[in-house]
């Protein structure tokens, strides 16, 4: 798995052609809301429990 594959999957999932360019200033004061963090943690837990099957 390469960083380029992660990037391509991320773009596909978000329906974007290019990665957005965000300034450092934009994200410096950015606080992740509790409900977004809870959703992230729930997905992390689920991904450790449920495997999808390849070939």
């Amino acid at each position: 798995l390469t960083g380029e594959q992660v990037r391509a999957s991320l773009l596909r999932q978000l329906g974007l052609r290019e990665a957005p360019v965000l300034d450092q200033r934009d994200v410096e004061g950015l606080v992740t809301p509790a409900h977004v963090r809870a959703q992230y943690v729930a997905l992390l837990r689920r991904s450790h429990g449920a495997h999808s099957r390849g070939k």
Binding site: G3, S9, Y40, S52, K55
Partner: protein
């Protein structure tokens, strides 16, 4: 044919030449029949249910071996082993296009006879002991994989912080353990009586994967907002030795 541990299976059906000559007269050129294999499971309360195993169109003018993959059915049946129930595979034949002779399609397609048999479909089980032919789990982190080493799952860290495109875009995680499948798989011996239904060698591949959740910054109305995204099949959970396209045995019910 069984070995002690049923692990991999190849099913074969053969259309007899005698039937093919008859079909050429009866059927228009290009006529096909659908051959369906189902697993018939009889429950403890005597009720039964069929599960589709494989189904495909077979040319009535063609000839040769047709391989039906019954691995899943055999694996599920093995898991029910204590019940002592035999493996019941139901083979049905229907004309691809319904017409006046559709119900008689089973008479147009015949299966090869085994010695002493009566033209029943044949089931051949080719088994491998995965203790010798499978993957070995996780690689030894202390010993780098040498050439020809056995298939295993190797740790690989993907560092998102070090990637320019991810800068200020991917907020969480800073990186993750992705794993990769490395090493070689032992190839089963080929016998004159058994032609593998799967082309090519067995390869060390990812057989189970998990998704990778991320928090990314998306711009909305000119201002960034954190959003959760889940990327499928990003982390390898298990490596297995498999032929291309062949299912890997697993513990799951239908």
């Amino acid at each position: 044919r069984f070995s002690q541990r049923v692990r991999e299976v190849a099913g074969r059906l053969l259309a007899a030449e005698a039937a093919l000559r008859r079909l050429e007269r009866l059927s228009p050129h290009g006529a096909r029949a659908r051959v369906t294999v189902e697993w018939l499971r009889i429950h403890e309360d005597s009720s039964n249910r069929t599960y589709l195993v494989d189904s495909r169109l077979v040319s009535l003018q063609g000839s040769g071996w047709k391989a039906f993959d019954v691995t899943e059915a055999v694996n599920f049946w093995r898991q029910l082993g204590r019940s002592g129930q035999p493996l019941l595979l139901q083979v049905s034949v229907q004309r691809a296009h319904l017409g006046p002779r559709a119900s008689g399609a089973h008479t147009l397609l015949r299966f090869a006879s085994q010695p002493g048999g009566h033209g029943e479909p044949q089931l051949e089980l080719h088994t491998l002991d995965l203790g010798a032919y499978g993957a070995q789990g996780d690689c030894d982190p202390e010993a780098p994989a040498a050439e020809g080493a056995r298939c295993c799952r190797q740790e690989t860290y993907v560092d998102l912080r070090g990637m320019r495109w991810a800068e200020n875009w991917v907020l969480e995680p800073p990186g993750f353990l992705a794993y990769e499948c490395v090493g070689a798989c032992q190839q089963p011996p080929e016998t004159p009586t058994f032609r593998r239904p799967f082309p090519g060698p067995r390869q060390c591949v990812a057989s189970e994967t998990t998704s990778l959740p991320l928090i990314v910054g998306v711009k909305e109305g000119g201002r960034p907002r954190p959003q959760v995204v889940s990327l499928p099949n990003m982390r390898v959970e298990k490596c297995s030795c498999a032929w291309d396209g062949a299912p890997v045995p697993r513990r799951l019910g239908p």
